[in-house]
């Protein structure tokens, strides 16, 4: 067992544990913290793949910005602990079997594909390549996305201002 595999297993375990804890926790803040653990573990996995830039962006954007807003809103609303409801009938008879089927399909395909997989050659100058892709090759979709986000922002502000 190599050191890389050990680190991978530790990070993957951490991500899974965080994800399970996210669902099982009663308090919204604890759930949010679990989600942050998942994101940090994912960033570690990216680092393991030598995608340093993606790892750093993962932490900065998801854990450092989006989740801060989540926590901020939870605190602002002062949300308390929540009650767990029972399984709905829909989840019991449709959700659980379908999850099992999805798991089986995924396992089958991953197992079949990983036999034929070879390691990709390491990429030099990751940051530069991402930048060239975003701002040269896909500049138009990129700008379109930012306009979409801008519209969403303005929409949120209009909705928030309407009451007063």
């Amino acid at each position: 067992m190599t050191a890389e595999l050990l680190v991978f297993l530790a990070l993957a375990g951490l991500a899974l544990a965080g994800a399970v804890s996210l669902i099982l926790q009663r308090h919204p803040i604890h759930s949010a913290l679990s989600l942050i653990v998942v994101m940090a573990a994912l960033a570690g996995l990216y680092l393991l793949l030598e995608a340093e830039f993606v790892a750093a962006i993962q932490i900065i954007v998801y854990a450092g910005a989006i989740m801060v807003l989540f926590v901020f809103v939870i605190m602002l609303l002062n949300a308390g602990a929540e009650e767990h409801t029972d399984f709905s009938r829909m989840a019991r008879y449709a959700g659980v079997p379908l999850t099992g089927v999805l798991l089986l399909v995924l396992t089958f395909h991953v197992a079949r594909a990983s036999a034929a997989m070879t390691a990709a050659p390491p990429v030099e100058g990751m940051t530069r390549r991402v930048a060239l892709l975003l701002f040269r090759d896909f500049a138009f979709p990129f700008e379109l996305t930012s306009i979409l986000i801008l519209v969403a922002l303005l929409g949120a502000m209009v909705l928030a201002k309407r009451d007063s």
């Binding site: 308090h27 803040i29 604890h30 913290l33 942050i36 340093e52 830039f53 750093a56 962006i57 932490i59 900065i60 854990a63 450092g64 910005a65 801060v68 807003l69 926590v71 901020f72 605190m75 602002l76 002062n78 940051t127």
Partner: protein
């Protein structure tokens, strides 16, 4: 041990560097508190710490003992896990950011391994620092929330809003430097600033001939003050309104951890300011004919400081103070003499200039804190969004135009 060293040289070297840096950093942080108390006292025409050791030099030790020995109370109804996690998070994240700071251009020999003067020599050093500072907000927010205290909660809320707002300006203010240097690697950002305009003006990013980063530095400095929750932006712990803000309920060493975290992030942003805008370890004095004496400046500074300390120490008002201060002065003189020796002065040039610049930036941080009054909360938000963000955006546009025009 020797077998392990031979088999895993990288691990051993990294561990040695981490331990040395941690020891130096924690000592420096303790004395940074002493430094701030002394400066603030003299700004207000007081003496500051004066009783514990000569000039209060043992005050950090006394403070640390006090942190360790006080009762560690947990408020009723606190969320215990998060309450314990928050100070731990603050301190760990603030300290780890120092790992990517390069202190000099040279290399040192540890167990026969040549290694640069930085713990983690990574390509995305700047992004790592930003990632760690963006996570730092959790310490404050979670502390405020878990304390089960309305003042703490308000402090935490304020602080999260403030840090999210100013992080934008902080990141954008650095983009100008990145455009000029073309890399995220902190060491390469420094080497990109070497050289002198007209033979004497250092080509630091602050005075870059393509486009001087004056606006960038201004935005960086203001945003850094806000990110580290220092006056005039310490709304998170405004004592006139919020008792002590997010750390109201913390006592003993948990409070001490917040303290360490705050000063560690101050050191980080100061180091980053020096690397990004003031040429890192590069000397401000150009090397050239007639300027050979510049390499002996570190030795001269230490020697003169030591001599001054001896003269001052001999007239101190306690006997022990006379002995200790003059002994310290002699030690400084000895260090100065060591720095003048061949083989040593080459190595100390980089760290000397780097630490001197960091020291100046830290002094400005303290100076600002004890000079400016605190902003009101709405003013804080208005400055962040309506003034600092447009200015830092303008800096990005102007710098990119200048870079395009040059090429």
């Amino acid at each position: 041990m020797n077998e392990f060293t031979a088999q895993h040289p990288i691990v051993v070297v990294a561990l040695v560097k981490i331990v040395v840096l941690l020891f130096l950093l924690l000592t420096a942080l303790a004395y940074l508190v002493w430094f701030e108390r002394k400066i603030s006292a003299h700004i207000q025409a007081r003496r500051g710490p004066y009783r514990v050791g000569p000039h209060g030099l043992l005050q950090p030790l006394a403070d640390a003992l006090k942190f360790l020995l006080k009762e560690d109370a947990t408020p009723a109804g606190a969320d215990r896990f998060v309450y314990y996690l928050a100070p731990f998070l603050t301190m760990t994240l603030a300290i780890s950011a120092i790992a990517v700071i390069p202190f000099g251009p040279g290399t040192v020999q540890i167990f026969g391994q040549t290694t640069p003067l930085v713990v983690a020599n990574v390509n995305i050093g700047l992004l790592i620092i930003f990632a760690l500072t963006s996570l730092g907000v959790y310490g404050v927010v979670l502390a405020g929330w878990s304390s089960n205290n309305k003042y703490s909660l308000l402090g935490g809320l304020r602080s999260s809003a403030q840090m999210v707002s100013y992080e934008l300006s902080l990141t954008l203010s650095v983009v100008g430097v990145l455009l000029l240097a073309g890399t995220f690697h902190l060491g390469e950002i420094v080497t990109a600033q070497s050289g002198y305009t007209w033979g004497f003006l250092p080509r630091w990013n602050l005075l870059n001939p393509t486009w001087p980063q004056l606006l960038g530095f201004f935005c960086y400095f203001v945003a850094a003050l806000a990110e580290t929750n220092r006056l005039p932006f310490d709304l998170a712990e405004a004592e006139t309104e919020l008792v002590a803000g997010f750390h109201t309920e913390y006592s003993s060493f948990k409070f001490g951890m917040f303290f360490i975290g705050e000063y560690a992030s101050m050191v980080t942003v100061s180091c980053l300011a020096v690397i990004l805008f003031f040429g890192g370890w590069l000397s401000p004095i150009p090397s050239g004919p007639g300027l050979d004496w510049a390499v002996y400046l570190p030795a001269a500074v230490f020697g003169l400081a030591g001599a001054g300390l001896v003269v001052h120490g001999l007239r101190y008002w306690t006997i022990s103070g006379r002995i200790v201060l003059s002994a310290m002065g002699l030690a400084l003189c000895a260090i100065g003499a060591l720095f003048a020796r061949p083989g040593v002065w080459e190595l100390v040039q980089g760290p000397f200039w780097f630490l001197l610049k960091v020291f100046v930036v830290l002094f400005v941080f303290v100076w600002v804190r004890w000079t400016l009054p605190r902003f009101r909360y709405d003013q804080l938000m208005a400055i962040g969004w309506k003034f600092l963000l447009p200015v830092s955006l303008a800096n990005v546009v102007l710098t990119s135009l200048a870079v395009v025009a040059r090429s």
